[in-house]
């Protein structure tokens, strides 16, 4: 079973040193991802979801306090690799990242063609002509006309720039793309367009995705699996079908109840209080202080319970 998985993350920990103490941004996360599947990582800002992407890709800032755990890619543990090996063989080549606001981070003085072909030249060692040819192919996949290779970022609209950023992550043909909030700054129709592109890429190229977002409604456009993060921990993980029709964890339930819907009228709920500080997270269940269903057990940290192949970190599901 485990051999089939493209990515398996075990007990991943990423803590940062800051002036006020150690921030436990990612604290013991486990999840896996099959071939040609997409997992959506949902959570509020500050819950550690972007740090999770950085931890998987080992894109670490200087103030890391601890970084441990195991990341298996195609069944091979990539954590023991040195930074150089990781950069040469894993990053871009096996998995790549579309960072948050990538569309605004394109270099304004280079044509988009040059920028998209650069990873191919660096990581695959091809010459510029071949790299541009690869870029042209990727432009076709993301639905941008090849004439745009010669253009500068300011000549493209937001949606086009986002497609270029996706094309850049594809040019080295990795199996896994990590998307960090790919559509949060875009308009409704552009968002729908980008998700159409991602769906098509998933079908045509057999890619897998990790989609990091706080936008629950649009995340359902791509999701096969859903993982919910709260205060550095993954509190629920399961298939999208059952998650969207009935989430398990009280936090996921509240989160789903807070999503405004167009096609039904339902009283919206919100979660009172604020997420805990990641410097000194509460002992026991981290959601307990805001949870309406808490009971005595919640002062102890809940283990992960399995329920119908879904995993949930909540004492309510103790069998």
């Amino acid at each position: 079973m485990t051999e089939e998985k493209l990515l398996r993350v075990e007990n991943l920990i990423l803590h940062f040193r800051t002036g006020s103490g150690v921030v436990q941004a990612v604290d013991g996360v486990n999840f896996d991802l099959g071939m040609n599947r997409a997992v959506v990582v949902l959570g509020e800002s500050g819950c550690g979801k972007s740090s999770l992407a950085k931890a998987v890709l080992r894109l670490l800032p200087r103030n890391v306090a601890s970084y441990t755990g195991r990341v298996f890619l195609d069944g091979k543990d990539v954590m023991p690799l040195t930074d150089d090996e990781f950069r040469q063989n894993i990053r871009w080549v096996a998995m790549s990242l579309v960072p948050q606001a990538a569309m605004n981070a394109l270099n304004p003085v280079l044509t988009v063609g040059e920028q998209v072909s650069e990873p191919a030249m660096v990581h695959l060692g091809v010459n510029k002509k071949e790299a541009l040819e690869m870029a042209r192919k990727m432009f076709h996949h993301v639905g941008v006309s090849a004439d745009f290779l010669e253009r500068y970022p300011f000549e493209l609209s937001g949606g086009m720039r986002q497609r270029v950023a996706i094309a850049m992550s594809l040019v080295t043909s990795p199996d896994l793309i990590i998307l960090d909030e790919p559509t949060s700054a875009l308009d409704v129709l552009t968002q729908a367009n980008i998700f159409n592109v991602l769906k098509r890429l998933k079908r045509e190229l057999g890619l897998s995705f990790i989609l990091i977002t706080h936008d629950i409604a649009t995340s359902s456009e791509l999701a096969d699996d859903v993982a919910v993060m709260y205060a550095g921990q993954m509190v629920e993980m399961g298939d999208a079908e059952r998650f969207f029709s009935g989430p398990l964890h009280p936090y996921s339930k509240k989160l789903m109840a807070s999503v405004p819907r167009l096609r039904e009228t339902k009283e919206l709920e919100f979660i009172t209080g604020q997420p805990p500080s990641l410097v000194r997270p509460p002992s026991g269940c981290r959601f307990a202080a805001r949870c309406t269903m808490r009971f005595e057990k919640c002062i102890q940290e809940p283990p992960v319970f399995e329920k119908e192949e879904r995993r949930v970190m909540c004492w309510l599901y103790q069998s």
């Binding site: 509020e44 937001g158 968002q191 729908a192 936008d215 409604a217 969207f244 989160l255 807070s258 405004p260």
Partner: protein, 351 residues
Amino acid sequence: MFTELVTKKEERSEKHQREVLLAIKNLHVWFELRRWGFSHAGYVRAVDDVSFDVHKGEAIAVVGESGCGKSSLLKAILGLHKPTSGTIEYYDKNISELNTKELKWYRSQVGYVQQDPFGALPPFMQVRRILEEPLIIGGISSVSERLDRICRMMEEVKLSPVNDFLDKFPHMLSGGQQQRVVIARAMILEPKFIVADEPVSMLDASVRVEILKLLRGLQEKHNLSVIYITHDLSTVSYFSERIFVMYAGRMVEKARVQSLLRNAGHPYTNALLAGTSDPDANNAKTFKEVPPGEPPSLVKPPEGCRFFPRCSQMIKGECDVNIPPEIEIAPAHQISCWLHKQSQSSAGIIP
């Protein structure tokens, strides 16, 4: 229960039909483009021939993509942009003709809730000072009265206990709390209406609802008129009575919320509705219908209907030539689209 809620809502907006607070007539906001700094090079037609009334106590949502002119419309209402032509009348006073003193009064009547709360709050001022400034400008000289009003306002936006927040700087607050401070600042002079520019787009899902409910509560309690600008259709039905859909500087559809959600008439509105997802795992199985292309340049917008280059139901020789008139397809539901002209012309409804 649902229909009850709707009729109650409709009744409420019916009741407010009488008193018009703000009347916008044929508003144009154009920005001149200059080449080399002085020679004329055309106009950006950000708002082009927009007319509507805002009634007392009514919440209106203006929906449109970025660059469609909705922020220019809002700034014209706030008196920050002068209309190129057309008028904005507040209680029968044309706001572009107000003198400095009257403008000061007008600005105390309008509250502005900005999009990005952190960017809208001065980083080096404490909450107390941020909320005090409008009162000082508004001419309230008594210090104790100012403090009293600040505390009352903070209670109202649920920044309590007040003493915990009075001396905080914006960076010490969470996004939701910052937005509450922005709302409190907009409300502190007891305005008659509020313009809110995407007030929740920068916030997390769970906080978003809280802020929308707070705004809704304040609106109902103080019988405020609200113009709520957004690109997210899914929040609109929870907040407003009427929706105006804007595309490339023009209003393409104006309707009551339920009327628009049930039978939207304009192809662009339909595209927006189809593009908005509800959380549902089935979404992943199908592709979305999205009109091809992108919104036009506002310097040289297409002749006729501005949506025709992207529209699948375009009528050749009509949509690409003549500007569609505003047609009333149902009570208080107007559409600017030639498709409806054709079906309605026999009924004899005057555009």
